[in-house]
């Protein structure tokens, strides 16, 4: 009898101690979960444009809200695809919980992504797409839609007989292709045969400048140009201004920068399609956290875009998009 009682007491005690330990472990695990790392691999990490600064601000806001640690890294320039692959490799070795990736190439990153996936690291793709099904979610501006907005605006303001041109940035870049398609959708419908071509400036202002200079001498009858990102817009505007055609040849640009705002004020640019980088960053991290916590996430999120003209540039909403408040 005595032995039986002793056994009972001991077993009950052991049971309770075990359950207490289990609870403690569970709680401790929960704490660990909160301190998980998420690494963000950006396109031009060394010298980020306003756009990427705002993306970062969005990520930081979400990081604070969801209480996660975020590390930033990336290659030195947007066109350094090799560099990004190398960085991704290093990130993969360090085994973070998730990677938020702004891909610098559509195809070349795919093998690396497969390795990352094998390592059990979740990938959230932002801004520009990779040709893979591995990323849990792709968050970006619907560039086709953004392109349509630009195309519609251009066809609205350019008279019927004028020729049109498109200045794109990096050949092969998905975002560029989609924007171009969006623009062409409208121009081919309402200005059939008027588009002289799409030209690539390799994301370089002076290149864009030269392209436009040449273009205007070859096709003096061009009445409107669509520029698909910031650098091409600024380069093209400078060229038109120098040719004395500022405001006469209509220009619809993309993104917002100090120069573009000036041009918009001066009437050198008629409109610019502005993305929502803050939302992209915020949703990127939010989705990464949701995915890490085992929630189902949607495969595709469109962060949206806004066409801003001189008249609408000072509304409260657009001010935040055009003049992102980024602390220096």
């Amino acid at each position: 009898m005595r032995i039986l009682r002793g056994a009972l007491i001991i077993s009950v005690t052991v049971l309770f101690v075990l359950s207490a330990l289990l609870c403690y472990k569970y709680l401790a695990q929960k704490d660990m979960k909160q301190s998980g790392r998420i690494v963000v691999v950006l396109k031009d990490y060394k010298n980020p444009s306003e756009f990427w600064k705002v993306v970062k601000a969005g990520i930081d806001t979400a990081a604070k809200e969801y209480n996660v640690k975020v590390e930033y890294t990336g290659a030195d320039s947007e066109s350094n695809i090799e560099g990004q692959i190398k960085i991704l490799n290093e990130v993969c070795e360090s085994k973070p919980e998730a990677i938020i990736l702004a891909a610098s190439d559509y195809c070349l990153l795919v093998p690396m992504l497969e390795r990352i996936d094998k390592a059990g690291i979740r990938v959230i793709n932002i801004d520009s797409r990779v040709n893979s099904n591995i990323p849990k979610c792709f968050i970006s501006t619907d560039n086709l839609d953004a392109g349509r907005k630009a195309g519609k605006k251009l066809s609205d303001i350019v008279d019927m007989n004028s020729k049109l041109a498109i200045i794109s940035y990096v050949k092969g870049s998905t975002t560029a292709i989609e924007r171009e398609h969006g623009v062409l959708e409208y121009l081919n419908r309402y200005r059939q045969g008027k588009v002289v071509g799409t030209f690539f400036c390799d994301n370089n202002q002076s290149m864009a400048y030269k392209i436009v200079m040449n273009l205007m001498s070859e096709h003096p009858d061009i009445g409107g140009i669509a520029c698909l990102n910031e650098n091409s817009t600024v380069g093209a505007t400078k060229a038109l201004t120098d040719l004395g055609l500022g405001g006469k040849v209509k220009l619809v640009g993309f993104d917002s920068s100090f120069d573009e705002i000036k041009y918009l004020e001066k009437g050198l640019i008629q409109a610019t399609v502005v993305q929502k980088p803050f939302n992209m960053g915020y949703l990127g991290l939010k989705t990464a956290v949701q995915s890490r916590n085992g929630n189902n996430v949607v495969k595709r999120i469109d962060t949206g875009s806004v066409l801003v003209t001189k008249d609408t540039m000072h509304t409260e909403e657009n001010q935040k998009l055009l003049f992102p408040f980024v602390e220096k």
Binding site: C23, T61, E265, N279, H314
Partner: protein, 594 residues
């Protein structure tokens, strides 16, 4: 209620009292501990909540104070400008000042402004727009943005509308200066002519938005909590997630903030539940709102939960150990008693329960011991009685087949036969036969009184014939009791006794009378003789003295007495009344048995 009872009944149906007690205790203790833990936990959570609520309010108040101090400073600047004679001169419509004089005045004002701007980096610019068309920009390198029309700007219109009162704008991008776009909060006020009250122009003081951004951004309200500011019209002055709100990815309860009169309101459910702490600024009309998440207010909530949980478990373990100990203490003597009982069941009566406890169970054990002793005693007694019965029966049989009597009787028969007394021979022989027949009585111990009477009559008949002229007998038994029962060979030893010890030694004819009657609920037989009687001493010793020789008087009588007592109890038996030379009466008391 019934199903509850049933479930409880099922759950607490234990084979051992110990478990019932232990489980009962544990359940009650668990219940109590849980309630205490929950109550004290929620109380401490409440206390922490209130503390942090207070803290948040003070924080919001602090932010308000520092923002107001900036606004006050801007107002001071505007006051200073308003009463500055150089400014008035600069703005006056009079044309009698030379260009050089005008330039000097402008320089003086600019210098003054620049000295302020140098000291206060938080003020981004001070600009005067004169209604006379003059615009004073303190920095010489600044140029007006040609694409912006100041008079169409909100701050300008509002300043004019406010008629000399300072107006604070919401946060916006200042695009007055060429090539400069800064986020600012503007204070504008109309400059009026002291005499004519006419409009002289508008003063614009811009405060770097980063000042407000920094103040609000540096505030920690937990991990998720934040501060935001709305102006009186519901425009966001500052919000950490302003862009998300504009994109409808998030919503902020601006309407409710504007509507509410109190300092607090709570919104949302569960993890999303949060407290809005609101402080309205008197100077600006802004509302500074601190949003803190309730689950974060109690930052060490899980720690506290853990603490209470472990404490509860600790006490529970302690309680269970104690309840097991107590229950075993209670049940141990019961178990002991139970084991003893089992022994008794098996037939072992040489057992004693030792118990030190003085409670009910101790009493029970004691009673048990006493009971066992009693049972043992009774059994011993029973065995003894059975033995005695058998012995007495043997003896009575012996008495009945007394060989002396038999051969004496047979002698008498022979003698009578020799004297040709045929009739007497027949009577004696038939009486002898009757005597034996009735004494056999089919082996039964208990016979009817009638056959006992038959038996004694036969006996007396034989004796009467043997002691001719010396013995006369008489039997007088009530008819009513004849069918009642009695033990057999009851009267014969008594009659024998009377004959051999009372009448045989007497000169005259002896009389024996047998009377049988019912007295109340008893039957009384009396064997009355007129023999020599007994002395009181002899009378006394007749039923008790053991040392009477087997053939002496009393052995048969005592045997009768013992048998009556054995069969019917001590209230029955023999009573002797005797007087020397008069006779003896033996009273035989029996129960009435049908």
């Amino acid at each position: 209620m019934n199903w509850l009872k049933r479930i409880f009944g099922k759950c607490f149906k234990f084979k051992r009292i110990q478990y019932s007690i232990a489980v009962g205790f544990s359940v009650v203790i668990l219940f109590t501990i849980s309630i205490i833990a929950i109550v004290s936990y929620s109380l401490s959570i409440d206390a922490v909540k209130n503390n942090s609520k207070e803290y948040t309010y003070q924080l919001v108040q602090q932010i308000n104070t520092s923002i107001e101090s900036y606004i006050n400073y801007m107002e001071n600047i505007s006051q200073m400008v308003l009463y500055n004679s150089d400014v008035r001169k600069y703005l006056s419509n009079q044309t009698n000042y030379s260009i050089k004089e005008m330039e000097e005045t402008e320089k003086k004002i600019s210098d003054q402004f620049i000295s302020i701007l140098n000291v206060r980096k938080d003020i981004s610019n001070i600009i005067i727009f004169g209604s006379n068309g003059r615009v004073l920009l303190p920095y010489k390198n600044d140029k007006l943005n040609l694409y912006t029309i100041p008079k169409k700007q909100n701050w300008y219109k509002k300043a004019i509308a406010a008629k000399g009162k300072a107006v604070v704008s919401s946060s916006h991008v200042e695009d007055i200066i060429d090539n400069d776009y800064r986020w600012v909060v503007s204070l504008s006020c109309e400059l009026t002519d002291k005499d004519s009250n006419g409009n002289l122009g508008v003063l614009l003081v811009d405060l770097n938005y980063s000042v407000i951004n920094n103040i609000c951004n540096n505030v920690k309200l937990g991990n998720k909590g934040y501060i935001f500011i709305v102006d009186g019209e519901g425009n966001l002055v500052y919000h950490p997630q302003q862009q998300l709100i504009y994109s409808n990815l998030k919503s902020e309860m601006i309407d409710q903030v504007l509507r509410t009169k109190s300092n607090y309101f709570v919104t949302g459910m569960g993890k999303d539940s949060r407290i809005y702490t609101i402080k309205e600024s008197m100077d600006t009309g802004w509302k500074i709102v601190g949003v803190s998440y309730i689950d974060e207010l109690v930052s060490n909530k899980s720690q506290m939960q853990m603490y209470y949980f472990l404490l509860g478990i600790g006490f529970l373990i302690l309680a269970i150990v104690f309840s097991l100990m107590i229950s075993s203490r209670i049940s141990r003597p019961i178990k002991k008693l139970e084991a003893s009982m089992k022994e008794v069941e098996k037939g072992n009566f040489d057992i004693k329960v030792y118990t030190e406890s003085v409670n009910e169970i101790g009493e029970l054990s004691k009673a048990f011991n006493i009971m066992i002793v009693k049972i043992k005693e009774l059994m011993r007694q029973n065995i003894k009685e059975q033995e005695l019965k058998r012995k007495s029966e043997l003896k009575s049989l012996q008495a009945q087949i007394n060989p002396h009597f038999l051969y004496n009787t047979l002698d008498s028969i022979i003698w009578m036969a020799e004297s040709k007394k045929n009739e007497e021979v027949v009577l004696m022989a038939s009486s002898l036969a009757k005597l034996f027949r009735s004494s056999i009585s089919k082996g039964q111990d208990i016979i009817t009184i009638e056959s006992e009477i038959e038996h004694i009559k036969s006996y007396l008949t034989i004796q009467e014939m043997r002691y001719k002229d010396k013995l006369i007998f008489e039997v007088d038994v009530e008819e009513e009791i004849k069918n009642k029962k009695t033990i057999k060979i009851l009267l014969q030893p008594l009659v024998e006794n009377s004959i051999y010890h009372g009448i045989k030694n007497k000169e005259e004819v002896g009389h024996i009378k047998i009377i049988g009657k019912r007295i109340d609920d008893k039957i009384l037989f009396q064997v009355v003789d007129n023999g020599i009687g007994m002395t009181p001493e002899k009378l006394k010793s007749i039923l008790t003295d053991e040392n009477i020789s087997p053939r002496g008087m009393g052995i048969g009588v005592r045997n009768v007495n013992e048998r009556i007592i054995l069969y019917f109890g001590t209230e029955y038996g023999l009573k002797f009344e005797s007087e020397p030379e008069v006779g003896t009466t033996v009273n035989v008391w029996l129960p009435v048995i049908d």
